[in-house]
């Protein structure tokens, strides 16, 4: 089944057509936003490792995401057994871990939320956002800071 969704993608209003099978389901939504449960990953090879996690529930909601190890190569949080159980992963290494890249609108400053990673089970198409128990990792890990223009 195809879902049609009006979105703003790469700054342009467009209609996205996605397969129902491609929808990733977050049963608990995102932290603080339980209503955002269905997403699709939009991956443009020219933009890798950055991808867009687009909400299917609200065309206006999308997130820039990436593999957190592309931001912090030795990223190795302790997820705990409950995380794997929540989305049916036998081993956490079977899952796909993403972090949200946060751009402050109006500034050229990008941070990565390493405190609240997303874990996706590619086999079942389910996902969860975890708040890490230890604050070793920052919710605003700096990635890009504007260079002043002359």
């Amino acid at each position: 089944m195809i879902i049609e969704l009006a979105v703003t993608y790469k700054g342009e209003q467009t209609v996205l057509r996605v397969e129902d099978d491609d929808v990733i389901y977050f049963p608990q939504g995102l932290v603080g936003f339980p209503e955002w449960q269905r997403f699709v990953m939009l991956e443009d090879p020219d933009e890798a490792p950055v991808a867009v996690l687009q909400s299917v529930d609200d065309g206006a909601v999308s997130f820039l995401v990436t593999d957190p190890r592309c931001v912090c190569p030795d990223y190795s949080p302790d997820f705990g057994v409950e995380t794997s159980a929540e989305i049916g992963l036998e081993r956490l290494t079977d899952g796909r871990v993403l972090c949200i890249l946060v751009v402050r609108e109006g500034t050229v400053r990008v941070t990565a939320n390493l405190l609240g990673p997303l874990v996706i089970n590619p086999k079942t198409g389910t996902g969860i956002q975890i708040v890490l128990q230890d604050s070793r990792y920052s919710a605003q890990y700096p990635v890009l800071v504007a260079e002043p223009t002359l």
Partner: protein, 84 residues
């Protein structure tokens, strides 16, 4: 909000199998012991708030900022670096 006053070593039982015990009071810091079933998530609330705040900002800005992706890619470690 239910407000209770507890002394050191006194406890509060919540719902199905959650027990919070005041272990120590040191100045303005209270040490709490929490027993709960494995499936119950226990968080320092301010960490949760930080994630919620970042989610909110990210959701509002992502559709406006696709133009930043090329600069962003330059700052990220590639998969090759990561998989070494």
């Amino acid at each position: 909000m239910l407000v209770l006053v507890r002394k050191c070593n006194e406890s509060i039982a919540i719902g199905g199998g959650i027990l919070i015990t005041v272990l120590a009071v040191e100045g303005d810091r209270v040490k709490l012991g929490i027993e709960a079933p494995r499936e119950v998530t226990i968080l320092r609330h301010e960490l949760c708030d930080q994630v919620i705040s970042e989610n909110r900002v990210a959701a509002e800005s992502a559709r406006h900022v696709a133009g930043i992706i090329p600069s962003l890619r330059d700052k990220l470690f590639t998969r090759k670096d990561v998989e070494r």
